[in-house]
């Protein structure tokens, strides 16, 4: 598979599937935003729009039985790892048909069948879980790998360093994927992050590298290398993906002028950086597809999202009696 380990060598099939997945995420999140604005969604949610290439590039390099742990901004990870749109919307709306029977909501969607050990509302909170899953794979002698998605804000949590140290000591098959979208909520990451990010994992003896998080082919290629290395017993790695969230920290964060400029937002939404455009342009240039084909992918995804949200809106809420279920296994 290392043949594919260079972006240029990625074939049409893989690239088109990644385009499809990124499109599904983009449209899912736009719909989620609509649900909020239409006061149909309980609480708030954190949109992944703009960062699609990270989840899709990474998860396209994984097997179904590989594990991921996710974050409060987890819809992209969840879809990219194989979740169904309808049951995800159902969970966002707190319906019984949701992945967690409505008990978890947006910040806690888990999809065990597809290897998603759950979104996590504690920043950095899943670093130990991913590392433990990698420990489990090694201990049980499988060649599974675990991927820990986290935002750059999680670099403030001591837990991350405690577990990176153990992952390195015990050469565990875990890949720490840092999604640096430049903001910890409303604070620029440079105000909260001293020194050099890549030097941190490296100080613990962990192989670390940086990639353009808007270029799904680059993310995919780099992840494949780290995954193959981990499967082969090469140990942990750290992938820093530079990216950007187009929307607010959460759906309610609409006035952002006090912490970032419209110009900055426009720059990242441009054809040169938008992950869908970047891949779309490449697909066209390669002659893998024409505009109609891309349009068709988008139409299919839109239809899937529309039927999915309908399903969720019509689905029943859990009966109050279920509140005491699932406390203990």
């Amino acid at each position: 598979m290392s043949a594919t380990a260079s972006p240029s060598k990625i074939g049409a099939e893989v690239a088109l599937e990644m385009y499809r997945q990124m499109t599904r995420i983009r449209l899912f999140e736009e719909q989620a935003n609509e649900l909020y604005r239409g006061a149909k969604m309980p609480g708030l949610t954190h949109l992944y729009i703009g960062e699609e290439a990270v989840a899709v590039g990474v998860c396209s390099a994984l097997r179904r039985d590989d594990w991921i742990t996710s974050t409060h901004r987890g819809h992209g990870h969840c879809l990219a790892k194989g979740a169904e749109i309808d049951r995800m919307f159902a969970e966002l709306l707190g319906k019984e048909a949701g992945y967690c029977r409505g008990k978890g909501g947006s910040m806690h969607i888990a999809d065990h069948e597809n290897g998603n050990l759950g979104a996590n509302a504690i920043v950095g909170g899943s670093a130990g879980i991913a590392t433990g899953a990698a420990f489990s794979a090694k201990r049980r002698g499988t060649d599974q790998v675990a991927v820990c998605f986290f935002g750059e804000g999680a670099l403030g949590q001591g837990l991350v360093y405690e577990v990176m140290n153990m992952a390195s000591l015990w050469t565990l098959p875990v890949i720490y994927v840092c999604e640096n979208n430049m903001y910890n909520e409303y604070t620029h990451y440079l105000e909260a992050t001293a020194g050099d990010i890549l030097s941190r994992p490296r100080a613990f003896g962990i192989k670390a590298d940086e990639v353009d998080g808007q270029d799904v082919r680059a993310v995919f290629a780099r992840t494949i290398e780290f995954v193959e290395r981990a499967r082969a017993g090469g140990g942990p790695a750290f992938l820093l993906c530079n990216t950007y969230r187009y929307h607010g920290h959460h759906v309610g964060d609409v006035d952002r002028a006090y912490y970032r400029t419209k110009d900055e937002e426009a720059l990242w939404r441009s054809d040169e950086r938008d992950p869908l455009r970047v891949l779309g342009t490449w697909l066209l240039a390669q002659g893998f597809v024409d505009d109609d084909a891309l349009k068709a992918i988008e139409d299919d995804a839109r239809a899937e999202v529309e039927s999915g949200v309908q399903f969720a809106l019509e689905a029943p809420y859990p009966d109050p009696s279920q509140v005491t279920e699932d406390v203990f296994a």
């Binding site: 409505g102 008990k103 909501g105 504690i122 999680a154 001591g158 910890n184 604070t187 912490y259």
Partner: protein
């Protein structure tokens, strides 16, 4: 009500939200004492995700209103050291659920330093955090963990239920030479109330009788006081007169006021939004059951949050917390009028 009596120089009053009252208390104490500073996540330009701290960085500058990394344990530890060496930190922990991350610095360091040093070290630290469910924030952003900190000798724990109490108690917390955990209900920030003009403090360890009654005592904390008062209105219609008592600080706890009321009414219900099992209601109920034993006409009832992680779905979350109806129903049963 004891708060007015505790008010010095109060002339008139103004209507403020709970959030504004907290903001005013911080601003007044920061003007009064330049060793006071705030540290937390997104509290400067952003004025805190709940907007409670809006305007403070503009008045006091980034040296006294610090945006920190997402390092709850670290900022609490930094606060302990700063407090030991001449400053009065107010550490902001966005959600009470994150107390899980700061307990070593809070319980093993801040709470014990004065005692372990034989009275030499002092830790005048205030840790502000939040509690409360029904915000559709799910299990890791909805807990009310006051029982944990109230169990730790060396910590004082404040739960305010009105803007006026919040302001007076927070000012007292900041001036206290000991570590104080000040917990605010996220859902209260927009709630309005009358706040006395001018400078005033509210002492710790003095419960406030929020409503006088004869038939049943309802001891309630934080936003559960509002629930208890609403329940009292419902009970009024059934001819049951409920007395509502707000301890305001659960550590120190004003046992005398609570016990006297229970002795007067002969019936008591304790309401707190923390999980019921091994929670705040257990301590207060067992104190009443012990000290008012010979005056009680019925067993003391406890109403905490249901003992399940807080679910996301509205139909589930709404049944996990005490409501005016469930509190009133419990009172009716206690009074044999259901």
């Amino acid at each position: 009500m004891s708060s007015p009596s505790a008010v010095d120089a109060a002339t008139g009053t103004r209507t403020l939200t709970f959030g504004q009252a907290v903001n005013e208390a911080l601003a007044e104490e920061m003007r009064r004492d330049e060793t006071v500073f705030l540290i937390g996540e997104d509290i400067a330009e952003a004025g805190h995700p709940f907007k409670v701290l809006a305007g403070l960085v503009e008045e006091f500058g980034p040296e006294r209103v610090l945006d920190s990394p997402i390092s709850e344990q670290g900022i609490t530890g930094l606060g302990v050291g700063a407090a030991m060496t001449g400053l009065r930190p107010v550490v902001d922990i966005m959600f009470g659920d994150f107390l899980t991350l700061v307990l070593d610095q809070l319980a093993n360091q801040a709470a014990k330093a004065h005692y372990m040093s034989g009275g030499k070290l002092r830790v005048p630290l205030t840790l502000r955090t939040t509690l409360g469910a029904t915000r559709r924030s799910a299990a890791q952003h909805s807990q009310s963990l006051q029982a944990w900190v109230a169990h730790v000798p060396g910590l004082k724990v404040v739960l305010a239920s009105t803007p006026a109490d919040a302001k007076g108690l927070l000012k007292t917390a900041i001036r206290d030479d000991n570590p104080v955990v000040f917990i605010e209900d996220k859902m209260d920030y927009v709630v309005k109330g009358e706040v006395p003009d001018g400078e005033y403090l509210i002492p710790f360890g003095v419960a406030d009788v929020k409503r006088v009654g004869e038939d049943v005592t309802i001891v309630a904390t934080s936003s559960m006081v509002r629930v208890a008062l609403a329940a009292a209105e419902l009970l009024e219609r059934d001819g049951i007169s409920a007395e509502v008592i707000d301890p305001r600080t659960i550590s120190p706890l004003d046992e005398d006021t609570i016990v006297r009321s229970a002795e007067k009414t002969g019936r008591a219900i304790v309401v707190d939004e923390g999980h019921q099992r091994y929670g705040v209601t257990a301590e207060i109920a067992s104190v009443i059951a012990d000290r008012a034993f010979y005056a009680l006409d019925a067993p003391v009832k406890r109403m905490g949050a249901m003992d399940v992680p807080v679910p996301f779905s509205p139909t589930l979350e709404d049944v996990t917390v005490p409501t005016p109806d469930t509190v009133a129903q419990t009172a009716r049963q206690l009074c044999g009028k259901d």
